[in-house]
């Protein structure tokens, strides 16, 4: 994905079933939801090996909460494998999916949540079902559904997608709020760009975006220089690559032949 491409990470955390405030006490105004991400900037240099992003936050008591991390959306075209002559497995065509997020990490416990009123833009908080609902058209056939499952399995293997369950947290403070936290392991292969961490609350059959934070992943130093040159000055970059390769090959040849000469 190009730098600057829109990306949204929704690192969704913890569905927390909270205790109601005690009877007889005056009803406190709902707690304000917040999240904090650390680090908020990921520098991708030559020794970048991936980053663990820690998400921490609080949601009003009584909500089920999901932290969702989503990367930029786009079209993905894949080779589809099938049997030819009922014997040979090979590429038999392509399959394309629209609105596919580059990165999705979800940490949530929304099994008991009422999903009927969840608006499309918040469905990712539901985990795999939400991704499928976002990407596949309504009424997609079983074959397409199977291929999409295979694609998601590829993404999970690349550590670009993950779906985890979070433990419910207990409510504390006044007004009571549920503290949640999650860690998301972002692999070195995440594309540079802007990501968003969202806290989504589920309550009474609806969903609500409670808080968001941004994360920026950017190439720096030599990694930025090489990637930019490869993209913007292809021919010059190719010639330089050839010069480097022939130079290295020639030099090794000379060194090896010199080392073989009798003393």
């Amino acid at each position: 994905m190009r730098a600057g491409a829109r990306a949204a990470i929704a690192c969704a955390a913890a569905a927390a079933l909270l205790r109601p405030a005690g009877a007889g006490e005056p009803e406190a105004p709902p707690a304000r939801a917040w999240i904090r991400v650390e680090p908020s900037t990921i520098d991708i240099g030559m020794f970048h090996r991936g980053t663990t992003v820690r998400v921490e936050g609080a949601a009003p008591a009584g909500s089920r909460v999901a932290l969702v991390c989503v990367g930029g959306q786009g079209k993905v075209e894949l080779k589809r494998k099938g049997k030819v002559w009922n014997v040979l497995w090979m590429n038999v065509g392509t399959v394309a999916f629209e609105r596919v997020p580059t990165v999705v990490h979800v940490a949530a416990d929304v099994d008991g949540a009422d999903r009927r009123g969840v608006p499309p833009e918040l469905r990712l908080g539901l985990g795999y079902d939400g991704v499928e609902a976002q990407v596949l058209p309504v009424g997609a056939d079983d074959a397409t559904r199977l291929l999409f499952q295979e694609f998601v399995r590829l993404k999970v293997a690349e550590r670009l997608y993950s779906f985890e369950k979070l433990r419910p947290a207990s409510a504390t403070g006044s007004p009571p709020s549920s503290h949640v936290s999650a860690e998301f392991s972002l692999p070195p292969g995440i594309p540079p760009g802007e990501y968003e961490v969202r806290m989504i609350g589920f309550r009474d059959g609806t969903a609500e975006l409670l808080a968001t934070e941004k994360i920026t992943a950017r190439r720096v130093g030599l990694a930025l220089l090489v990637a930019t040159m490869a993209q913007r000055s292809g021919i010059l970059y190719g010639i330089l690559s050839v010069v480097l390769a022939t130079g290295a090959g020639f030099l090794t040849g000379v060194v090896f032949s010199a080392s073989r000469k009798p003393h």
Binding site: M46, G189, I235, G238, A245, T246, A248, G249, G253
Partner: protein, 308 residues
């Protein structure tokens, strides 16, 4: 020990020692047999998480280094036929361009993948089997001397009919330059169809059809592979922006040394020993491809691009 490095164009981090090891292994094959090794390296790079297009393009760049190193070593030993190499390369450029258009045509028909896979298995299977049996007979001392025939073979008559006979001193053969041009073009078509440099097809062609001695074949093939891969590297950089120079440099750090060791070993081995080793490698790749066609893949979808 885990020492990872980020590959800016591939957009992923990989273990440095794995790349050095892969480069060394493929460089050894390159120096030993005169093949570029792309048919082995590209799938291995994809396996460690390099996108297919970047794997194929960057591999071409590292082959430039390995084949420069190997060609230099062979040239110093006097085992490169430059005249033959240029003719084969010239034919290869024409054939390669034709092959690219052939694949485009087949893609439009929706038959490209089938054609490529079948070509791969048939080519690897037939070349590997023939070389294996022939060199095994040579090693056992059972190779039969050619029987004098009153009627020359079709191939011999074709050779005789071609014009402008020229002596190729290094190779010790006299033949028309039209033949290496035609064979170079044929290998170019196959290389474009199969998505590889073509060294492992070129070597048997030089041995069996051009009748060149094995040690000159290895050096000359490397020389030809060098120019092919320079062409591919620049094209891939200009059109697909897919060459990762960091990846290529790490691979070539291993491969240039491997190529030197391979070139030394190739001079110590008997021609039949070299051929049987290459045949074994080719047959192993063919078996791997065949199993890939017969067994259910781990995933029913795959990212596009790169070699087959």
């Amino acid at each position: 020990m885990e020492l990872s490095i980020y590959l800016p164009v591939a957009g992923n981090a990989v273990n440095v020692f794995v790349l050095l090891g892969l480069g060394g292994m493929v460089g050894l094959l390159s120096g030993l047999f005169g093949v570029g090794g792309g048919f082995l390296m590209t799938p291995l790079l994809i396996m460690i998480g390099v996108p297919p297009v970047v794997a194929a393009a960057s591999d071409s760049n590292q082959i430039v280094a390995a084949s420069t190193s190997g060609t230099y070593a062979h040239a110093r030993a006097g085992s490169v036929d430059f005249k033959m190499g240029f003719l084969l390369f010239g034919g290869g450029i024409v054939g390669g361009t034709g092959g690219v258009y052939l694949i485009k045509f087949l893609r439009e028909l929706g038959e490209a993948d089938f054609f490529i896979n079948v070509t791969y298995v048939l080519m690897l299977g037939s070349i590997g089997s023939y070389m294996f049996v022939e060199s095994l007979e040579g090693l056992r001392g059972r190779r039969t001397a050619p029987v004098a025939s009153s009627r020359p073979s079709v191939y011999a008559r074709l050779l005789g009919a071609l014009p402008w006979k020229t002596e190729f001193q290094r190779s010790g053969v006299t033949l028309s330059p039209v033949l290496p041009l035609l064979l170079g073009a044929l290998v170019g078509v196959l290389a474009a169809v199969m998505g590889v440099g073509g060294g492992f097809i070129m070597v048997p062609v030089m041995v069996y059809l051009l009748r060149m001695p094995m040690h000159v074949v290895v050096g000359t093939s490397l020389f030809q592979v060098l120019f092919t891969c320079i062409h591919v590297t620049i094209m891939q950089s200009a059109v697909n922006h897919a060459v990762d120079v960091v990846l290529a440099l790490l691979l070539l750090a291993g491969s240039v040394i491997g190529a030197q060791v391979g070139a030394r070993m190739s001079r110590r081995l008997h021609a039949d020993q070299l051929k049987i080793l290459l045949a074994a490698v080719v047959l192993l790749v063919m078996v791997k491809m065949l199993l890939g066609l017969l067994l259910r893949p781990a995933s029913l979808v795959a990212y596009g691009g790169g070699h087959v």
